[in-house]
Subunit: 423 residues, 2 copies
């Protein structure tokens, strides 16, 4: 271990309490969509203290909104800025983007939480709260890595471009805005919760909304109506079959350990207004996974054809066809060869810190990496602490030990990737 690596490693060990505290106050700031400013302010202040060059702006404008990859149903970004904070290198090294999102998903049914969803409570080495895993823990890991470089007086050749963006959970408008603002690099790490696995390939995904029409009637003579809920059951069955068919075609060994490589998730259904009426409309919303080498358009056609088949075969639906909309979130798929230098250097750092070779898999979900790579032309690897089992769930938490390990692995990768000036 080099002198620099030792110093950074020591600094990270000595500053764990501060790291945990930073994550705690970040989790305590509810940053669900439209409420990102409080948590973002904490990160801005941290970057200011680190002496980074700050670029804080509210996203929007014609170029963003007319971009083909823009996919967003939010009109107002006012007061909830994006942040890019740059640690400028001396030159001659490779640059890297460290990208994290500040937005978190809603808490779900609060009754399922054992504590306030924004408690930031620490117990048995775990820090609890919405966003702890997805992905404020990853963001803190990046900030600690940067601080360990600065605090130890390490001078890099390449630039570190730290990004804290909004809107990842709803389709990546924040990262797209950063790309369009000109932020590109020779590589990027996104510390989404991969459970410390390295993901060179990322699934794309997009949201869909299916509207099912029925025919209202009094519940006492329900046979005179057509229940939109009953017709929705047919839709569920078809989508389950489509998911099976699509996944049967996935042969990439990176997906070997993943039960459903590209899932179709039904996230929401709303139907009916009155218990004793037959419901005349059902709205189904969900998320469709897109394979790393597939296009968004191909996946859309798969679902549209599947639902057209259903409509053809059902007498009612053939006259009252299902309506499908692609709305809200959309994440482009992304793919990096697993012999890319960034994967290699990250894997070596992992081996040194953890004492074992990392697991390399394909991501089961979309990230902003699709935009960074496809639109921004920046090679992306996704690697971070926390597990997806608990992201988006009640009692979300992160194991702090993992966050610190990720931080050290990222720090070591940074000095390799960007290069260090001779002392």
């Amino acid at each position: 271990m080099s002198n620099i690596e030792t110093r950074m490693s020591n600094w990270l060990k000595e500053n764990r309490a501060r790291g945990a505290r930073l994550l705690q106050i970040l989790v305590q700031e509810n940053s669900t969509r439209g409420n990102e400013s409080g948590a973002q302010a904490i990160i801005i202040e941290k970057c200011r203290q680190l002496g980074l060059t700050l670029d804080i702006w509210e996203i929007g404008g014609e170029e963003l909104k007319k971009h083909p990859a823009f996919c967003c149903d939010r009109n107002d970004f006012e007061g909830n800025p994006n942040l890019v904070a740059v640690l400028k290198g001396a030159g001659g090294g490779k640059s890297i983007i460290l990208n994290g999102h500040i937005d978190v998903v809603p808490v779900g049914d609060e009754l399922n939480w054992n504590q306030d969803p924004f408690s930031g409570h620490i117990e048995c080495g775990r820090l609890y709260g919405r966003g702890a895993t997805d992905m404020k823990g990853g963001t803190v890991a990046m900030l600690l890595a940067i601080e360990s470089i600065i605090a130890t007086g390490t001078k890099l050749n390449g630039d570190i471009i730290f990004q804290s963006v909004i809107e990842e959970e709803s389709g990546g408008a924040g990262t797209l805005a950063a790309v369009l603002r000109g932020y590109k690099a020779d590589g990027a790490i996104i510390p989404e919760p991969t459970n410390m696995k390295i993901f060179p390939k990322q699934q794309g995904s997009m949201w869909f909304r299916i509207t099912v029409k029925g025919k209202a009637a009094h519940g006492g003579t329900r046979y005179e109506g057509i229940s939109a809920i009953e017709k929705s059951q047919l839709v569920f069955e078809r989508l389950q079959q489509l998911e099976k068919d699509r996944n049967a075609k996935i042969t990439d060994p990176l997906y070997d350990q993943i039960p459903i490589p590209i899932p179709i998730n039904i996230g929401k259904i709303t139907s009916g207004q009155w218990p004793s009426s037959v419901p005349d409309t059902a709205i189904i919303e969900g998320r469709m996974g897109v394979a790393p080498e597939e296009t968004i358009e191909h996946a859309k056609r798969d679902m549209e054809n599947c639902l057209k088949d259903l409509c053809r075969e059902d007498a009612w639906l053939s006259e009252h066809p299902l309506k499908i909309e692609w709305f809200g979130g959309r994440w482009l798929p992304g793919s990096l060869n697993d012999d890319h230098m960034l994967i290699k250097e990250l894997s070596e750092s992992y081996l040194e810190i953890k004492g074992e070779t990392p697991i390399i898999e394909a991501s089961p979900w979309g990230t902003d990496g699709g935009i960074l790579s496809t639109v921004g032309g920046t090679p992306v690897v996704v690697f971070g602490p926390g597990t997806t089992e608990i992201a988006h769930d009640a009692n979300e938490y992160i194991i702090l030990e993992e966050m610190f390990a990720a931080s050290e692995i990222i720090a070591r990768t940074l000095i390799r990737w960007c290069g260090v000036q001779k002392e």
Copy 2:
């Protein structure tokens, strides 16, 4: 045809336009739950003009709310009164309650309506709008019948007790309040939309709410969660089977022509908050039919046992059992022998006016008749214009011709039942 009957018949023919106009302004007053006052005011004014003895009051109070048949989730009845208007007889005749409800169900998806749901538009002999059939048309038929008696100078022996109540669509608190206020009679007609069939037996019904628990997860790793929507599909299947089993036991010939005598209607489902999360909770609401001779308690046990079986057989549900609540609306079943004098006199009047024998069936839905008969001890027959196919549906309408026919049949039944003083 007696002199009186001829005069009443002529009066009704001559006053059809006024009757249609009264229904029109009633339909134009949206009287969904909590908004009953405007339509009720029109009826109050009509009864005042007819010289009836008015009893207008806001329901509520301990006696009502603690009554075992009270079943209501509404706290505030202020400003939306009940009305009872009495045409006092000379004495010595049988009394009769004419009961109609002023509340209407919500309009559903407005896009399914060809016109404003409260238009009162008349075209090709049909009057359109929410409540036209269920049951402002029936109420106007009763008011015209009463007016034809008054306008022709006919003096009855028995009392006519006209009731315009709130809350029928949500469990009958309005009629229960009228019963507890002391209104009972030797018989009652409720002109709910029976499509001019005579219903001596009425199905009871009640609302249920089933809460299904799942386990949230990120949609990209949906196999790590348990979808409350998928578990709801199991509930749907079981309830469909339960409906089949319960209806297989119905042997009453009055139900011979009814496809599903006592339906279980799923009226509503709400699940999930986010397209790309696995939903952790689903709320299912619906209406369960109760056979005329069955008790509410027996039907409840049927469903509770059915869902308990499901929970026993499903690994997840056995640890996260379904929660079932009986909430909101509940209508007691009711049953009258079909040789009851009220059925006979109504049938004779029907035969005279329509020139054919009426169809006698059991009602496929609950009405306030259950409360009138079970709590109030008043024999009830349900008979009225309009069809349940279009009650609670978009583009609800009533055929005005049927409303006028019902009015004349009711008027003729009234003079037979109550008796007429010699001229």
